[in-house]
């Protein structure tokens, strides 16, 4: 079982290492019409000097909304995981059963 896992890991690693040989050279992206639009129009449309902030909060605001939701869910999940056991222990006085 462990041998099979190791062989699968080697295959995945080999696949991942072969990929960069077929990619375009580093530092020469070709398709960047969208980024060129952002770089040229962020100052006149949003009056923002920081183009990254303009993208995060305006052009792609939906991404940030979803990400804020993920962070909120994570905080709620951590609170739920760590809180439930504590209250049960205080109530029952016996070790909790997970």
């Amino acid at each position: 079982m462990r041998i099979i896992g190791f062989v699968a890991f080697l295959v995945i690693a080999a696949f991942l290492l072969v990929v960069p040989a077929g990619m375009r050279p580093f530092g020469e992206p070709r398709l960047w019409e969208m980024d060129r639009y952002f770089l040229e129009h962020a100052q006149e449309e949003l009056a923002a000097n920081n183009v990254c902030t303009a993208i995060v909060f305006d052009y792609r605001g939906y991404d940030t909304l979803g990400e804020a939701t993920v962070l909120f869910t994570a905080v709620v999940a951590v609170a739920a995981i760590l809180r439930r056991l504590k209250e049960k222990e205080i109530e029952g006085g016996e070790p909790p059963h997970v």
Binding site: P20, C52, L71, V75, L82
Partner: protein, 116 residues
Amino acid sequence: MIANFPYVVAILLMIFGLYAALFRRNLIKIAIGITLMESGVNLFLVSLGYRRGGIAPIYTLAPEAGERMVLPTPQALTLTSIVIGLATTAVLLALIVVIYRHYGTLDADKINKLRG
């Protein structure tokens, strides 16, 4: 191949993280491996948007006009990816704390036996 060396570095980081996540028994080390994989993916994403000789996409006191700026969209999306990875790591660590409290060990195999 040598021109793509930064991609190879990011992928090596991902492979190390995958190895740690698959073949380590300690739960904390598995969490470290998953975090390493996230770092590799983020590095790969950022390096996809680099232009040779580029400057940061910020116009405040920039050395010259916007023709040589790197692509801003991969950077913005990497920011999103970093925060999501942080949230995942927080939940992972909370679960590990609860597991250690319940079983008294961090060894994944021992926990499998104890679960019974």
